[in-house]
Symmetry: D2
Subunit: 302 residues, 4 copies
């Protein structure tokens, strides 16, 4: 079954869908291993992995490459953050074709101008005109080949400080334009703002949220409010920075990795995540004319 079909089924079945952010194939594979329903190919995480601002500095090319690597690494659906669509309707059409061809299950566009700046940076948030963004949604819908390839519209009105009415007006307009789902974004420290939106929404399209700042609300509570998807968008990269700083400092200070060996996975688990067992199996399967490595030796690492 295609990734798009798998994602559509998740939307059609009861229960909240849980996505987690990643910036490379490894994060996507661990997301699937742990049990997440899908991967959020995050522009914040990808740009952070390059130490470049999440401000349309990296181009669609790098975001697409990482999304494609995630698709290859896992069978759970990959949903790609596509900023504001990388430009105008022509960029959006190109974007949809490229991400669909890469095996991504859905793309998410936000109603900001290009170049955008990450939603958690105050002072830079500027919305695109509503009709212009609605046109992008229509262009995206027409550009997809597979009707299960989902077009998610991200409403940034609350982020830009324009209030509930503007957020609702835009969400309705994007549903009218054909958006498959609405991501309503908020950077409030507590859930009140987003709950206010839930209470005012008619659920004419499924709702998606990103509780980065208002993290006290649980998936169960969100589901009770009618939310269909919850995304933990940036916790992977925030975990990595903390963990690398600790490991690197400890090794440098101690002059040895001895003290952290028990706190990090052994090399064998890295090799396993890389598919070394499959390579080993293929080594024997296609060993015609050559002497394969003795089984007892090549078993060692796994």
């Amino acid at each position: 079954m295609s990734a798009t079909a798998r994602l559509r089924i998740l939307f059609e079945h009861p229960g909240i869908i849980r996505l987690i952010g990643a910036h490379n194939a490894l994060g996507a594979k661990i997301a699937a291993e742990v049990g997440f329903d899908g991967v959020w190919s995050s522009s914040l995480e990808i740009s952070a992995s390059y130490t470049l601002p999440d401000a349309s500095i990296l181009t669609m090319t790098e975001y697409l490459a990482q999304a494609k690597a995630m698709v290859r690494a896992t069978s759970i659906p990959v949903i790609a953050v596509c900023d504001s669509g990388y430009g105008n309707v022509h960029n959006v059409i190109h974007m949809v074709r490229e991400f669909e061809a890469a095996g991504v299950a859905a793309v998410c566009m936000e109603d900001k101008i290009f170049p955008k700046v990450n939603s958690f940076v105050p002072g830079f948030q500027k919305l695109a005109p509503l009709e212009e963004f609605a046109s992008k949604i229509r262009a995206a819908l027409d550009a997809r080949h597979d009707p299960n390839f989902m077009i998610i519209a991200r409403v940034e009105a609350l982020i830009a400080g324009q209030g509930l009415d503007e957020a609702l007006k835009r969400a309705h307009a994007y549903v009218a334009a054909g958006a498959d789902a609405i991501l309503i974004h908020s950077a409030a420290k507590t859930p009140e703002q987003i709950i206010e939106f839930f209470n005012a929404w008619d659920f004419s399209a499924p709702l998606i949220v990103v509780p980065t700042t208002y993290y006290t609300i649980t998936a169960q509570e969100l589901e009770a409010f009618g939310v269909k998807v919850v995304i933990y968008a940036n916790h992977g990269i925030r975990t990595i920075v903390r963990a690398l700083r600790e490991t690197f400092s400890t090794i440098l200070d101690a002059g040895t990795s001895a003290h952290i060996e028990s706190e990090i996975v052994p090399m064998q688990q890295i090799l396993a995540l890389q598919g070394m067992p499959e390579l080993k199996q293929n080594e024997r399967l296609y060993a015609n004319g050559r002497q394969p490595a003795p089984a007892n030796q090549i078993e060692t690492f796994s």
Copy 2:
């Protein structure tokens, strides 16, 4: 000062040089922040980030791209793992030109055949003929423009189970061919094997080690043995896998990130690592004709 000059100075000054492995710009930046002397652009880590075997499956193109991203992210020297040189002498010549042009300070080639398999996977290790590898070293030296761009020869004789004499013979041959330094690799569980090499070596070239398996030996002890560079080659990725599994599982189980918020860095630190403060500064510096974001707002995140 160029990265190659900085690395050469480190080699000429007393004291052991400490490198740590990375697979992207973020790891390189944290390495510098923590105080490491340089970054080891690791093929194990990079291939693991793609969940592909460290077996010459990814090509020079992807390894070069990551090394280049690391160079841009930090001012400490980047030393790039280049497998067995990606083929024959012609590939080596091309490789040296490309990595030098990318601003990398040194490349490290190992004396195995192409395609190679990661040295910690038993049963796959096959050495290249000594003279063939010596030719690659000579070709690499002739191909560099900057004499400070270092060519490191990695001796895999101990890894391949060929013993101390073969290791010494090869190390001497590679020094004779012009290698700037020798990386003597061992996958023994304890330091005895590598110490045996130290005691037999004439130090006609600086020595580099990778204490992944024999991690009980300290940098101070290695320095006392005359070792010039110690590389912690894979602890970053091993840290990340453990940490991501824990964070992802905790969030999925709890249905919220509330319980791990204090254990991961806040968004502000991610934004800072991405260079948002510099972007903010440039916003004001080049605001001609536009209204920059109010200073009080854009200060918020930092």
Copy 3:
């Protein structure tokens, strides 16, 4: 219909299939426009476009990127030259997955060692052991998802001066291993050598030829001999070098392009090949909330 299905139908219907070499999307689009049945994504042409030797210097990454660009540019099938499979069976498995995911209709592997050198360069041609190459074919077959994705085995025995018997032996072995078609390559100045092969072949698999040096034989004659595919592999790049030299010299000498304006296509045809008419149409289709360019103006170029 998928590109693989379209190619399979061409093989199942009577008549010789005509392919022409290309190194980018533009060449592929012109191939389709002119009426060729498919595009040969040529490693010779692609490496020449980089001015790098056709000797496994560029990696699979660059060859894949160009093949993918060709797939996007045209609906005729793209058949990709994949050298000797970029390494061993593990590289072949990765290669098949990547090229199939890119929408390529078939891959062609030659039975030479890695790194290979272009078949028209004497003195460098070394064959892989027969059984080793047969294993690659089996691995490739197992790796494909779509049974219509074709695996073409290219026999280089005549190129390597090993004679008809070796060529036949290898061709039969590769058919036995499951190859969907055999490309029998010859660099003889006249067709005698290849005709000798035709006469000795049992046509247990379709035959493909590349009449670069023995170009006097026609497609009609090849068809009469039972050949299924003829590939004009390098005439595009050879045309381009001649034509660019003439245009560039004429402009430089004359100090103006006036003398060659009638011999090159007008800008409007370049814009049309780029899809400017479609962009223009989309401009009007998705003009909500904006004033589209007046129709009379944007018609001008087409």
Copy 4:
């Protein structure tokens, strides 16, 4: 000597500088071979090679990759078309760093909004506010490390139909902002419009022109008007389309390449452009431990 120094010397010496457009390394190498002073890495040509509109659909990543390939292929300076700077000042700063690191000698930015559309497409041309573009120039100047890395400001006022006064006002403002040279663009069918600009210009900065439509004016005449650089920006790709169509059609119709063999370069010249002679030489130079190909054999192709 660096490419930037070589370009600066060309600007300081008397005589008009002649550039020709290219979209890949091969075009750049032929440009140098024929005698052009430098290469114009053309967004029109590069996007056409992908059969995508020259409308900011391809990203900086692809343009940078081709410019870098040109730099490697030749020692004449490469001047890169960088559209409107790929976004705002932050994108410009990133762009300058990346193109300078790639060994490009100069970048050219045009004063249009993002996404831009090729200047020869009427109805889409919209200028950026003057002060906003001047800020981009200042940001670009501050971002370069090498003062010889040139920042060229392209004035599109005549293209956008805004007249001579606006063109002059903008050209002066960009010189005041620090632009190293002014490219004054015109799509008029005859040279009157551009000559009017020449007569009104104070030559406070060197002038660059692109006589695509008003091609009757010669380099000698332009030099007499004081113009410093003439660019033949798109004649390569226009030549290629015509030539490929003819070659492909002739081969398809005739069922053989026999009739065009004398009109295209022989394979040997392709191999030579790819550097096969250098590879051959290296083969002998680094043949230690292996038997190199016999000299008489490997001479054959050259």
